[in-house]
């Protein structure tokens, strides 16, 4: 965490927060790409989704209760 040597103004703090959120969005994009690649390549995830698909086929189409 950044050590604050002087009291930041509200505007400076807001800029820091926005910069943090922008960095966070960059991380999210990288993470999204990794998630998609892992979905395609990770045998445990492939197996889990295959099992789920089979269960869904056996169960049939869910009924929506609104």
């Amino acid at each position: 965490m950044e050590t604050i040597q002087h009291e930041l103004t509200a505007e400076e703090r807001h800029e820091r927060l926005v910069a943090f959120l922008k960095r966070h969005m960059d991380e999210k994009r990288r993470d999204e790409q990794e998630t998609r690649e892992r979905y395609k390549s990770d045998p445990a995830i492939r197996e889990a989704f295959a099992k789920l698909k089979q269960e869904n086929e056996e169960r049939g189409t869910p009924v929506v209760r609104l």
Binding site: R13, V18, K22, T35, R36, Y39, I45
Partner: protein
């Protein structure tokens, strides 16, 4: 006579596990979703005493037959809500952070979705706070929220840390 099955309130989901506590579900339209709880111990500042309980909620379509954003699906929200509830059942001290993805400028649609998920919770059992942060230069509105169990003994510390974060005090570097 065959007994009629009761209507279902959501899709089947599966807990896959791993570091990010991954869950998966598949919709009627064959869209595959991953819901994960990514450990984010420093999200509320590195001096926050309960960082081990902080997770960022991430929902992603990992496979879609059309490669487009899936259309509205009434069963997705209750499914996500059920998954979140399942995760809280594993640890009642969980602090879930949600920050809307703004990368494709569909943050408002995601925020509405998040609100639909939350609507499926029993509101009495959970406490939520949120705040929007405007980046005036880029014209982007960041929606940020956290959810905890209403009886979380660290509730006041979480609220204080979240408010300080939103005020730009304990922003992680």
């Amino acid at each position: 006579m065959k007994k009629e099955e009761p209507p279902l309130l959501g899709y089947n989901y599966i807990f896959i596990g791993g570091v990010d506590s991954v869950y998966g579900f598949i919709t009627n339209n064959n869209n595959s979703y991953e819901v994960k709880f990514k450990p984010s111990p420093y999200a509320l500042g590195d001096d926050f005493a309960f960082g081990e309980h902080i997770y960022e909620l991430v929902l992603k379509v990992v496979d879609s037959p059309t490669d487009k954003n899936p259309p509205f699906d009434a069963l997705t929200a209750p499914t996500v809500a059920a998954i979140i509830k399942d995760f809280y059942d594993r640890s009642s001290l969980t602090i879930t952070i949600y920050i809307c993805d703004t990368s494709d400028r569909r943050e408002m649609a995601r925020w509405y979705k998040f609100n639909r998920w939350y609507d499926h919770f029993n509101a009495n059992n959970y406490f939520r706070a949120d705040q929007a942060v405007l980046d005036e230069k880029d014209g982007v509105l960041y929606h940020c929220a956290f959810i905890i169990k209403a009886n979380n003994p660290n509730k006041m510390a979480v609220i204080t840390a979240f408010n300080r974060l939103m005020d730009g005090y304990n922003v992680a570097k």
